[in-house]
């Protein structure tokens, strides 16, 4: 295992002042923590006029006075009106560019020999199959810069985009949403350990992990979760999340997989829309059919949420919304933003679990990569900004 930046950072953290290490070790329960907080706050207590709270209140009061003053000194100012409508998209777009320009992070690559990839679920299978497909396409791997940020994963991919230039300000008409097709749900087979029971709200459908898993047309992009109360945040954590959509791979349904670090969450489509005039697509996924290991679980009784992704005519995801479907949990992820371009592979391929595990656990060399065209290994030379990372 190479000494990655993460490991060096970890070592540096370990060598901070010993007093800090010892202090943290000694504070090992809630009561001691409370005492420590009290003691430290008492040491750093400032006069009331220097406290952040006082400053905040003062700033708010000053703003209020200023606004009142302007209102009374400029009559009619608020009567002129402003016809410019700031749409959510344009606001988000501007904010996105400003926010993320300085957040561009270098690509990171799988560390040779580090850890071992064991695929234990359909979610992981879907994700790594997509990664493999994308990294084996020269066009996709040529996108190696970032609007993709490091996600802290052990097996990631380096993707690059300068950002889409498509104008997102005009909200397209919502295309027709198809109803979920339940007629194709599998009947009981020897592989299904649980027969669907019309009286139950929970059904399990299994996939054989030894059988090839077929994915058709992969899209991958990143979103940022900032709402700590949200459903997805509870599954994945806050921050940058990889999103993979693979089409018509589970009994005709498409699959979305979210991944942050070692956390995965996957669920199936609830509907798809397409506007032939604009070429835009709309995906609706629902948590009521989700992945658990190598099972698809259908549960209508739990709190369920939908995820709506809009893609433009160039297959670039530009909007991600979360909404409540049923049983009111109230944990809708708010303000989810798409923070990267979308990388697409039009191919359809099948992979087995063993094949993917073998692929990702085999160290790559430049000679091996030459035949395959592209790879995530640092020595591959796929990018001149590549570096070893965890």
């Amino acid at each position: 295992m190479k000494n990655s930046r993460n490991e060096r950072m970890s070592e540096h953290l370990l060598n901070v002042d010993e007093e800090i290490l010892t202090n943290a070790y000694d504070i090992d329960d809630a009561e001691k923590l409370r005492q420590y907080i009290k003691a430290k706050n008492a040491k750093t207590k400032k006069p009331f006029y220097m406290t952040p709270a006082f400053r905040r209140v003062s700033a708010i009061a000053a703003c209020f006075v200023l606004i009142i003053g302007v209102m009374f000194s400029v009559p009619g100012l608020f009567n002129q009106g402003n016809n410019e409508v700031i749409t959510e998209e344009s606001h988000n777009k501007v904010e996105s560019k400003e926010d993320h320009q300085e957040e561009v992070a270098p690509p990171w690559l799988k560390e040779e020999g580090e850890g071992y990839l064991a695929i234990n679920s359909i979610a992981q299978l879907n994700y790594y199959a997509a990664v493999r497909m994308l990294t084996e396409e020269p066009k996709a791997t040529d996108l190696i810069t970032t609007s993709f940020k490091t996600t802290g994963a052990n097996y990631g991919i380096v993707l690059l985009s300068a950002g889409s230039d498509v104008d997102k300000n005009d909200e397209p008409p919502i295309p027709e949403i198809t109803d979920p097709d339940v007629s194709q749900e599998p009947a009981v087979t020897p592989d299904n350990p649980t027969a669907p029971n019309p009286d139950d709200n929970i059904h399990y459908y299994s996939l054989d992990p030894n059988e090839p898993f077929f994915i058709n047309r992969v899209s991958m992009f990143q979103i940022e979760l900032t709402d700590e109360e949200g459903f997805l945040a509870s599954k994945l954590g806050l921050g940058i999340v990889d999103v993979v959509i693979t089409e018509e791979c589970i009994w005709g349904d498409s699959l979305i997989t979210f991944r942050k670090g070692d956390n995965f969450y996957s669920c199936l489509t609830n509907g798809v829309g397409y506007d032939p005039q604009t070429g835009e697509r709309q995906w609706d996924f629902s948590t009521h059919k989700y992945v658990e290991g190598f099972f698809i679980v259908k549960n209508l009784a739990q709190e369920n949420y939908g995820f709506r992704i809009k893609m433009d005519a160039q297959s670039q995801a530009f909007k991600f919304d979360c909404y409540e479907i049923e049983n009111g949990g109230g944990r809708v992820d708010k303000n989810v933003k798409v923070v990267s371009s979308t990388v697409v592979s039009e191919e359809g391929r099948s992979f087995t679990v063993a094949e993917l595990e073998n692929y990702f656990n085999t160290p790559k060399t430049p000679d091996e990569n030459g035949a395959e065209g592209s790879n995530v290994h640092p020595e591959s030379g796929a990018t001149d900004t590549s570096e070893s990372e965890i």
């Binding site: 540096h12 010993e18 202090n23 070692d262």
Partner: protein
């Protein structure tokens, strides 16, 4: 037993010294190793290696803080074992912890380490940790030095897991900004 007394026993090469170290610190070093490795046999072996390393390195070393010293030894032994093994379960605490540190890393090319650079970085990191609010400070150190999991931290300090995750996430972001501002490259 007081740490200084334990160190004196080690200098005197008294056999009881290791018993005292084990009695006082086994929970610490086994806990750290358990976050790195998953196999109980490996954990037990590494725990014995920690005691051996303490015996072999004190003297000549005379650490100011035995706690920190044992913590570092345990981590290094655990990580070396992880590297040696050809196959590990993916979700060891160490791997997860390392992956979280991506949030802290400035967007710079890595450069070769020197002792002087390392000292500067450690000084900046020490200042960063001291600048954190007390709760985040303890959570951050226990997570990234003692490899305690988010769930264990939440349980230990009677906090919500989500709160712990959010505090650590914000601390990592803050560290990244600080390192970029200082022009520190890792």
């Amino acid at each position: 037993m007081d740490d200084n007394r334990i160190i004196e026993l080690l200098f005197e090469r008294a056999e009881t010294a290791l018993n005292e170290v084990s009695h006082k610190y086994s929970r610490l070093y086994k806990g750290i190793i358990r976050e790195v490795l998953s196999d109980e046999c490996d954990i037990d072996e590494c725990a014995n290696d920690v005691l051996l390393a303490v015996w072999n390195t004190i003297p000549p070393n005379r650490p100011n803080s035995l706690t920190a010293y044992i913590c570092k030894i345990a981590r290094r032994i655990g990580i070396n074992r992880l590297k040696y093994n050809t196959r590990q379960k993916r979700n060891t605490g160490y791997i997860v912890m390392l992956s979280e540190l991506d949030d802290c890393l400035p967007a710079e090319e890595p450069i070769e380490d020197s002792d002087e650079r390392s000292e500067i970085i450690q000084s900046v990191l020490s200042d960063f940790i001291r600048s954190l609010d007390p709760e985040t400070e303890i959570l951050f150190v226990r997570r990234y030095m003692y490899l305690e999991s988010v769930a264990d931290l939440a349980r230990r300090f009677e906090l919500d897991e989500n709160r712990v995750s959010v505090k650590l996430y914000r601390a990592r972001k803050k560290l990244k900004k600080m390192l970029e501002k200082e022009g520190i490259k890792v």
